[in-house]
Symmetry: C2
């Protein structure tokens, strides 16, 4: 089987690197319009070959570009014989954009989202085992071919991922809360810190703010593509901040400790 990876950045590079160990995959080719990424992916041996055109004999095609380029690729690949998956972190935007163009989703496209990432980018930062034991969410639609879903499941399982199927709307609501909102809060937090305060940061600060070093343009677009669920998650968060603020202002220690206690217990479940 031939694997095509479109976009050989950090995530696409990690897909290629992990696919090396899948016995049924005997060729890995890449497409990347970013010359430095293409060169590095080839030099590191992540791919066997970089190509300009989509090979007709690819069995699995992974679209690992930024979210905004994914719908265009899905359209372009709608009649390809291979199974098309993506790694887009917002599924509603992708699915809605394709449906607006084509009137339907291509049967060969299986919407996917691996919950794995890094604040770093580029194929030189592609981890060897990015998907091992990490959750991969599939959000197949009514139009999606069952056979394509099976191939996609096998592919991600071979890369070590744990699979979870959910619908697009639930995916976007959940990820707004667990991923997009913490990024927004970490960015906002870093803006509220003065440069001269940076040296007074301990280990807690470093961990809390690590995701604020993420790619600003990429994340702004994620916020925009998943704006309504994100703003609802933000409103829910603001309610909790307000509850803590009110307990503080009321000097209500019993209530304050109870609020923190519930939070700590939930975190300790992780």
């Amino acid at each position: 089987m031939k694997l095509l990876v479109i976009g050989t950045g950090m995530i696409g590079g990690a897909v290629a690197r992990a696919a090396r160990h899948v016995v049924t995959i005997d060729a890995i080719v890449g497409i990347d319009h970013h010359p430095a990424h293409a060169r590095t992916a080839l030099q590191l041996g992540l791919v066997d070959q970089m190509v300009d055109e989509v090979p007709t004999d690819a069995s699995i095609i992974v679209i690992a570009t930024p979210n905004e380029h994914i719908p265009g690729w899905i359209q372009r690949l709608q009649r390809h014989q291979g199974v098309v998956v993506d790694v887009g972190s917002v599924k509603g935007f992708i699915v809605d954009t394709v449906r607006a163009q084509l009137g339907r989703l291509p049967a060969n496209y299986v919407p996917c989202h691996p919950l794995a990432g890094s604040e770093k980018h580029g194929p030189e930062h592609a981890p060897a085992d990015l998907f091992r034991n990490r959750l991969l969410i599939l959000t197949p639609a009514a139009e999606t071919s069952a056979a394509a879903v099976l191939v996609a499941r096998q592919f991600w399982s071979d890369l070590g991922a744990q699979l979870h199927v959910m619908n697009v709307v639930d995916h976007d609501i959940t990820l707004a809360a667990t991923s997009h909102l913490p990024h927004l809060l970490a960015f906002a937090f870093m803006r509220a810190i003065a440069d001269e305060e940076l040296r007074f940061s301990g280990g807690g600060f470093a961990d809390f703010t690590r995701i604020a070093a993420s790619n600003p343009e990429l994340w702004w677009k994620i916020f925009r593509f998943n704006q309504a669920p994100l703003l609802r998650a933000l409103a829910a968060f603001n309610e909790e901040v307000l509850a803590l603020k009110e307990a503080l202002e009321a000097g209500d220690d019993a209530r304050g400790i109870a609020l923190l206690d519930e939070a700590a217990n939930r975190r300790r479940q992780l």
Copy 2:
């Protein structure tokens, strides 16, 4: 020199453990009213001996209890011949409480705060090198003896800390922004997450929320003891969240990316 550590929990235990390697310290004794902590600190060899009464010949006394017990110990030790330091994370509360009782700070007390911690507690979690290359803030007052400050500086330097002197008010404002606020936000965030959403958390989530596993009672008291600076830091943070929300709602991508960009640049300075 004899070192007395009052409170042999995670931080006091780490003080004792690090002090083992200081050649001028030849005896380490502990006081802890928490029987399990006292037993563990002794069993692990962090201290040579647990005692009930403050030894009159201690040269350095480290108060490593929760913040609320620190003022009482400073008062009790006001005529002790040794130099008294603490590890309290809120300095205004401690200094103000002692001054309200005694009318002044004892000359032998040097207010200190090592920027080092962990969400874990107990002497069994005392790291071997908690203070190495970490910042230690001293906030000496007008009443503090210069000789006592010299002894305190030498002691923390011997433990590997980097020293920084600032006044009490600046300390509390700075720590409200860099430490107390992120804890409050992490606790609030965990409250806004549903139990069933926990499994959809990636590495970013884990880091962002790690501090929400901290001790609820201890942190609630820190919030209360440093309430005014904390609420001002929260207001500054809310302004930044609002700016991002307004850019989102206005669809102002240039502004949104510029806001995130500044945040990411500041984080990358760390």
